[in-house]
Amino acid sequence: MSGLDLPLREQAGAIATGELDPGALLDESLARIEERNPAVNAVVETFPERSREMLEAAPEGPLRGVPVVIKDEWPLPWRAQRFGAAEMLRPVEPGESAPFRALRDAGAVIVGVGNMHEAGAGSTGNISVYEPARNPWDTERCPGGSSSGPAAAVAAGLVAGAVGADGIGSIRFPAAYCGLTGLKPTFGRSAMEGHHMGAITTMIVSGPLCADAADARLLGSALYGEELVAGSAEGLRIGVVRDEVSEDVSPEVAEACETAIEQLRAESGGEVREVALAELPASALAAVLIANVESLDGIAPERLNRLSPELSPIYRGFAKYRMLMPAAAAVKAARVRDLMRRRVAGLFEEVDLLAWPTVPAVAPALEAPLVELPSGTLTADQANVRGAGLANLTGIPAISVPVGRGAGGLPIALQLQAAWGRDELLLDAAEALERANGREWVECRP
C-alpha cells in the first residue's frame, strides 16, 4: 500500500519514526494529483518547489512532512486566493494567513490549492472559475461546496487531509457529499487571520476535512493551535428535532441517520431525547442574511457596475440583489441570532448533542443540482441551508460524519452539534459512532 493511502495520523507517525520518507510521500502526492486530478478537478494549482521548500524547512511538528491541500480561500506567501472566482470584490495579495502558519508550524506541507464554489456562495461546488470540482464517488455528481476541492482531494486519495472554511455549512456539505468527516469549529477557535473577511465575518471558520475523526482531530489541533484532547463519549444525551431538518429528507437519509443515532446512543450508553427548536427555519434565513450583509462590507454600489463578465451570471445577479435586501431584515436576523443563541444554550442544558442529517439527500447531479424531498423538488442550496445555518448563526461547533450509502452508492451523513467550546466532544462522539458501526463508512473509498 502506498504511504499516501495511510490515514493522516499514520503518515505523520511513520514519518516521525523514519519508516516513511516525506520527500517520497510528497512526490507520490504530486504524482497522484497528476494522475487522478483531471477526473475530479479538486486541486487547481500545485507548486512543487514551494512544497519542497516547506518540507525542507518543516519543524518537528505533529504533521511534519504530511502533504495537505488548502482551500482557495486564504492567501499563501506565494499566491493570493482567488476564492473560486474570476475576480474578488476587494483587492487581495499573497501573504501568510493564519491557516498557512498553523500548517507550516505543525510541519505540514501544502501540496496544492483546493477548488471551491465561486465566492463561497453555494453548497454544491457546481460553479467555479476553475470549472467545478467533481465528486470522486460519481464524477457527474456535486462534490459539495463551498469547500469542494479540499473534500474531493481527500476522497480521491490525493491527500489525507485538507483545510476548508465553513460560513454556512461549507465544510459540512462537501464532507457529507464526499463521505468524509468535516469539522466546523466553535466560532473563533480556529485559525482565521488573513482571510479577506476575517475582520468582519461573524460566520466563517476554518476547519479540517479528513477521512475520519482521529485525522480531523490531528489536523484540527493544528488549526486550533491547541491539542483537541480525546475524552469520553459515555452517556451522551442526544437531542433530535422532529422538524423539516430531520423529516423533510429522502427516506434513505432518514433511515441511515436514525440508525446512526441509535448506534451512537447504544455505544455511549446514553439516551435520545426529542427536543423542540421552533424557529429553526427562521435561523437558516437569518444566517443567509447575515452572511450576505457581511459580504457587502465596503462595497459601493458603483463597484457592482464593474463586475467581471467572467463571473457567473448567478454571482453577478445575486451580488446586485443583495443591495436590495431590507435593512429591517438584517436587524431582525440579528435578533433571531440572539433568540437562537438563547434557545440553543437552553437546549444544551438538557442534551449534549443535537443530531440531524447534514444534508437531506445524497449528492445531486452537477448539471442540475436539485433534490427530491417529501415536500417536493428543491434546489440543493435551498434544502441544505436549513440544517446548516444554525451552527454558524449561533457560533456552536458541528461535525459531519458519514453514516451510510444511498442511491448509486453515494454517501449519507449525520450532523452532530454541541455547545460552544465542546468541539472535542463532537470528535469523541464521531469516534464512538465509528466504533459502533465498525468504521464501515469511514473506511469506504470511491
Binding site: 446586485k320 429591517a328 433571531v336 441570532r337 440572539d338 433568540l339 443563541r341 460552544w420
Partner: protein, 61 residues
C-alpha cells in the same frame, strides 16, 4: 408583479446599479426565493428575548 419590478428595477436604479437582462433574470428568481421568507422573518415575534449586547459568538450567551 408590477410592484415587484418597481422594487427591483427602481431600487437598483436608485442605487445607480446597472443590470443586464441575464442579471435581472437572476435577481427576479432570487427575489421569488427570498422575499416570502424575508416577509415571514420580519413578521416573526422575537420580543420575548431582548437583544444580546456585543455577543461573543465563541461562548454561550
Amino acid at each position: 408583479m408590477e410592484a415587484t419590478d418597481n422594487y427591483l428595477v427602481g431600487g437598483l436604479a436608485e442605487l445607480g446599479i446597472e443590470a443586464d437582462e441575464v442579471e435581472m433574470g437572476v435577481i427576479r428568481v432570487a427575489h421569488q426565493l427570498f422575499w416570502p421568507a424575508i416577509l415571514e422573518l420580519l413578521a416573526l415575534d422575537v420580543g420575548e428575548v431582548g437583544p444580546e449586547a456585543n455577543p461573543d459568538l465563541s461562548k454561550a450567551p
